[in-house]
């Protein structure tokens, strides 16, 4: 009887693990098949070199570069904002803040990641953009700057939380040695603790980047929907994710070339986040070996 029970539990656990793998494989398969069909009609060279993306219009161009530049630009702004803020928070929490303060503030910070992204999107559009327009005249109503900044706010907990864990894991003996050499607290924090925790900090940044690249609602709402190859943060752009949303909501016919552009864009996105996640996994593994 007991054996059967064990078997049932074991098999059901196994099958639920299998489901997640099956779903992942299924997604990759669908993406790959549809993208393959897309690339049998559009040359892959055009896809990566054409500077215009207008698959829904009469003059069709299938250059992913404008969407890619939109994605990378908003992500870059987000990281530019989140890295210094997140890192300062993590250094403060692990090196300076009293323990009790750290215990309350850390979950509060993680709440930032729990805010629905559609709320962030409207926050960017309705609060941040008008505020920035007062500072920067000529800023468009839709722009990558405000979307990027708000996305940066969203990913602060990714950076601060994981970096803080890494800093916390640095053995105290290292710090004591540093104090013993006559270093100040600031010197110890920046010259000993941060370098020792660098791999963890890098992992946190990579995870944050991968989160920002895949982010959809904020950029769909606040960054505009105009594919444009530009590095100017004040004008409307369109990211890969925003394009996918736009086409999915319109009435593009299933099975048409326009429909398949979603998958071509999707697989590009997937490759990016997959590479980033693999990279962070590798680094994390290395970092664990170092201290445990």
């Amino acid at each position: 009887m007991r054996k059967i029970k064990e078997l049932v539990i074991e098999k059901s656990l196994f099958s639920s693990a299998l489901v997640t793998i099956a779903v992942t494989v299924g997604i990759i398969l669908v993406l790959a098949i549809e993208a393959f069909r897309f690339f049998s009609e559009v040359s892959i060279l055009d896809f990566f070199t054409d500077t215009q993306w207008t698959p829904l219009f009469t003059e069709k161009h299938f250059g992913i570069l404008p969407l890619l530049s939109g994605t990378l630009l908003t992500t870059f702004i987000a990281i530019l904002f989140a890295l210094p803020v997140g890192l300062s928070i993590s250094i403060y929490l692990s090196e300076y803040a009293p323990k009790s303060f750290r215990k309350t503030i850390k979950p509060l910070l993680e709440l930032l990641a729990a805010v629905p992204t559609v709320v962030y999107g409207f926050f960017a559009l309705i609060v941040v953009t008008p505020f920035l327009q007062d500072i920067i005249p000529g800023l468009s109503g839709f722009n990558s700057l405000s979307a990027g900044i708000v996305m940066g706010i969203m990913i602060i907990p990714y950076v601060s939380s994981i970096s803080e864990d890494a800093l916390h894991a640095v053995p105290y003996s290292l710090r004591e040695a540093s104090y013993g050499m006559g270093a100040t607290k600031l010197q110890t924090a920046f010259k000993v603790a941060v370098p020792a925790a660098s791999s963890g900090i890098i992992v946190s940044v990579i995870l944050a980047i991968s989160r920002a690249i895949g982010e959809t609602m904020i950029v769909a709402i606040a960054a505009g929907q105009q594919p444009r190859l530009t590095l100017d943060p004040t004008v409307p752009v369109e990211t890969i994710t925003a394009y996918i949303v736009q086409v999915s909501l319109g009435d593009v016919q299933h099975g048409s070339l326009e429909y398949r552009t979603i998958f071509a864009a999707g697989i590009t996105l997937f490759v990016f986040t997959f590479l980033l996640n693999t990279l962070s996994y590798r680094i994390r593994k290395k970092y664990q070996e170092k201290y445990e």
């Binding site: 219009f57 109503g141 839709f142 929907q225 105009q226 319109g250």
Partner: protein, 318 residues
Amino acid sequence: MKKLVIIMSLALLITACGEKKEKTDNSEKETTALAGTIKVDGSSTVFPITEAVAEEFRAVQPKVKVTIGVSGTGGGFKKFSRGETNLSNASRPIKDKEKAACAENNIKYLELEVAYDGLAVLVNPQNDWVDSFTIEELKKIWEPAAQGTIMKWNQIRPEWPNEEIHLFGPGVASGTYDYFTEAIVGKSGSSRGDFTASEDDHVLVQGIAGDKYSLGFFGLAYYAENKDKLTLIGVHNGEEVVKPTLETVSNGTYRPLSRPLFIYVNSTSVASLEVVEFVNFYLENSSELSKDVGYIPLPDENYKKQIEIFKTFVESNK
């Protein structure tokens, strides 16, 4: 806990009873409950009105099923001329070729105007240089050849600022887009692709309202809702600069960005009571419903006149 369960179930019971009662009330109100299917196809521009009418009609005649296709005006007439549909939505009058096809299959029909469609060309309120556009200028901005080349305001008129022009317009799935491109560029569905295209008109409002160098277009109804955030630009119709208003759209002086919308009724279909009822309901309610979905209603007397015309049409085809 037990108490709670009892209260909950009581509450459920009460609401359940209430609903039932309402339902019987509704059906009692209906003196003649009709059944059947009404087939409609045609223009996607007229679709929102017909859909709104059908939705309201369902409340009155729940057993009548109205199916509405969006094959486009031409595709709709193709089916209509083969007698496959009862009604056809059209965003233009029937063409001679389509008339001939109807005659060939012995299909007689009646044309009814249901609303006007007007398109507003808009800029940001801070834009103090544009007072009007000509059709040629709009064409220059929006035609496919403009993609990547017409990027600045001073390329349209040299005295306008040397600033990038930011364009906003409905997406390709929108009937408004088809209509604008047909009226301005000359070919439906043909335009540049590097503008902010959204099926959601609120996105366009937001975009134009937040950008000094913006230019956009969409249905007049959305402008009416956002008058304080946007500036309406008049369009030169060949004789004078006209701004779209209820009057200029309904009297046709706002050319070419206004047009009447039609439904066509098949003469054999009016033998079925549900079709007659539906068309009457359509004409009685489209004044209000067309406004709801973003179009401009005809003058009230036109609806009344058409109800009379339809009545004689029904009589003569019985």
